[in-house]
């Protein structure tokens, strides 16, 4: 199955799961889907059969509110049973509202509060360098999340320790909880800021899984500079009435919207 079809399949799972649960961060889930597809079906050297392999690549979903998209990707990739998606957000579910490593196979870190995943990713990348392991560490942050100061503390560290085995991917959909990022707290010139912190800067259409995969495959992981990818995305990508609409940050399709969304996703 090609990456685009995988992404479409994951999106259908997201709509089904969120509507079944009656809640979820639908906009964020659909925004990140193509990035997760590229990672889990092309880039990451990991496998459901070797969850504790010390040499596995590491992925951290720092934007923990994108848990729904993450679980659907993990289900698509065989880490969790499809049936578990039906328990999303229910009591004692293996798929809680934010990722929990003690619950969900494949999850590395408990995220949900923003600005935590990237410093941890830096620590993982540094651990690889210190222990001579060749695994790579990928961290996906929301763009609004880059307003957290802790990310910039970590960015200094990544550059200082020359962590070329680390990739910060920013899901740049331009929206945060309340409004457009530029209206809340301007991030631009985001690329210049990241470059100034000592990263190689890459920009990509984050809703094109093939382009994301190709870009990540081409990075030099033995380099002495950490990598950053600004992945330009559309929040709610794939469902026209959800796309680029702040109202869908924490909303799920209801009534006729469900069938309309599934139909649009083919």
């Amino acid at each position: 199955m090609n990456l685009e079809k995988r992404a479409a399949s994951i999106r259908r799972r997201i709509i089904t799961m969120n509507t079944h649960a009656g809640a979820g961060h639908t906009g964020a889930d659909l925004s990140e889907t193509d990035i997760l597809t590229a990672l889990y079906f092309h880039v990451l050297d990991i496998d459901p059969d070797r969850l504790n392999d010390p040499n596995r690549d590491r992925f951290i979903l720092s934007k923990g509110h994108g848990a729904g998209g993450y679980y659907c990707t993990l289900a698509e990739a065989g880490y969790i049973d499809e049936a578990q998606l039906e328990s999303y957000l229910q009591a004692d579910s293996l798929c809680p509202g934010h990722p929990v490593r003690q619950k969900t196979p494949g999850v590395e870190v408990n995220t949900g509060a923003l600005g935590h995943g990237f410093p941890i990713a830096c620590g993982l990348a540094l651990a690889a360098r210190k222990s001579g392991r060749s695994y790579r560490t990928f961290c996906l942050c929301g763009d609004g999340e880059m307003q957290e100061g802790s990310n910039w503390e970590a960015a200094m560290t990544a550059s200082h320790f020359k962590l070329g085995n680390l990739v910060l991917i920013i899901d740049r959909n331009g929206l945060q909880l309340a409004d457009r990022t530029g209206n809340i707290m301007e991030l631009e010139p985001l690329g210049d800021k990241i470059r100034a912190f000592g990263f190689t800067l890459n920009e990509v259409n984050g809703n094109d899984p093939d382009a994301v995969a190709e870009l990540l495959e081409g990075l030099d992981y033995s380099a002495d500079k950490p990598h950053a990818v600004i992945a330009k995305t559309i929040k709610g990508r794939g469902v026209s009435f959800i796309e680029d609409n702040p109202a869908w940050h924490h909303r799920v399709p209801m009534g006729k919207e469900i069938a309309m969304a599934i139909e649009e996703l083919g």
Binding site: E153, M156, T157
Partner: protein
């Protein structure tokens, strides 16, 4: 009697751990002098990481290093560890259950005149409120070595409160101790006095003062908060019917609270006086001894509190 900075004991334990084969990584935040880490850094330069003045990052990086397979120690001043990095401690260490051991250096009023920005009188309260966090409050150099050695060999998050004060080993230090057992300071039937961490030394001295006045103290040093063997405390309080807690911490959320909750849960109606920074106040920016005197944490103050009771 040999006096030793407890941080020196801590660093000695780090060196011993590496020679025992523990894959240790020590993370500091420009706190190389605060942590007295130099002897370790000279021996194992690749095992010290300095993240700069960035305490949130200190904890995040440490959690990542732990997930990457290392036993990780953080070593910086307690006020900038616990309060500044509270959410990282909660999520990245406690909730994610990473193998990070946090050394809270120079806690309580150790920084004296530098004032409340540098005091750490809420660290135990905050740590106690977190799931999965073990909390140790060593009393003397030997106890520090024991607590640090213990946490390095025990999987999961821990907090060790390491006072910068210079103290001798308690008289019984040659004998057997468990890391979470109260240590007897004096034996008596009139009143129980519990000293948290290095406050045990003041309790020991206060017991001597009170003995001269015919008041016999059942004195105990408390080397941990969680886990803590409460049995000796229960027996002592049952015998004396009155208890004083002494701690370089707020009376809110520390040893005093722990004992009050225990007595209440157990239905033990006894008199309790909690000595520490009074509920709801900052300690003044004054020398350590002056603050201890103000809050009756010095031997004379403890003895006075006992007489009043």
């Amino acid at each position: 009697m040999e006096l030793k900075d407890q941080r020196t004991s801590m660093v000695d334990s780090f060196i011993e751990a590496v020679s025992d084969g523990i894959e240790l990584m020590v993370v500091v935040s420009d706190s190389t002098s605060t942590s007295k880490i130099k002897p370790f850094a000279e021996k194992y330069p690749d095992r010290v990481i300095n993240v700069g003045i960035a305490e949130q990052n200190l904890i995040g990086i440490s959690a990542g290093l732990a997930l990457g397979g290392f036993v990780v120690v953080t070593a910086n001043a307690a006020p900038f560890l616990v309060a500044r990095s509270a959410e990282q401690v909660k999520n990245d260490v406690a909730y994610t259950n990473t193998n990070v051991k946090m050394m809270g250096l120079n806690p309580g009023f150790a920084y004296g005149s530098l004032g409340p920005t540098h005091h750490s009188i809420e660290d135990i309260s905050m740590m106690r409120s977190l799931g999965g966090m073990r909390i140790f409050t060593p009393i003397d150099p030997s106890g520090t070595a024991m607590a640090v050695g213990h946490v390095l060999k025990t999987n999961g998050p821990s907090y060790v409160r390491v006072d910068s004060g210079v103290f001798p080993d308690l008289p019984d230090s040659e004998g057997f101790r468990a890391v979470d057992d109260p240590i007897r300071l004096s034996e008596g039937g009139d009143i129980t006095i519990l000293g948290l961490g290095t406050s045990a030394h003041a309790v020991l001295e206060a017991s001597g003062i009170l003995a001269k006045n015919g008041i016999n103290v059942d004195g105990w040093g408390i080397p941990s908060i969680r886990p803590l063997n409460m049995e000796p405390i229960r027996k002592s309080v049952k015998k004396t019917g009155a208890v004083i807690t002494v701690e370089a911490h707020s009376t809110h959320g520390g040893l005093g609270s722990l004992v009050a909750e225990f007595l209440s849960d157990e239905g033990m109606a006894v008199r309790l006086k909690r000595l520490g920074a009074s509920e709801g106040v900052f300690a003044p920016a004054s020398p350590r001894l002056s603050i201890e005197k103000k809050f009756m944490l010095d031997p004379v103050g403890i003895a006075e509190a006992a007489r009043i009771m």
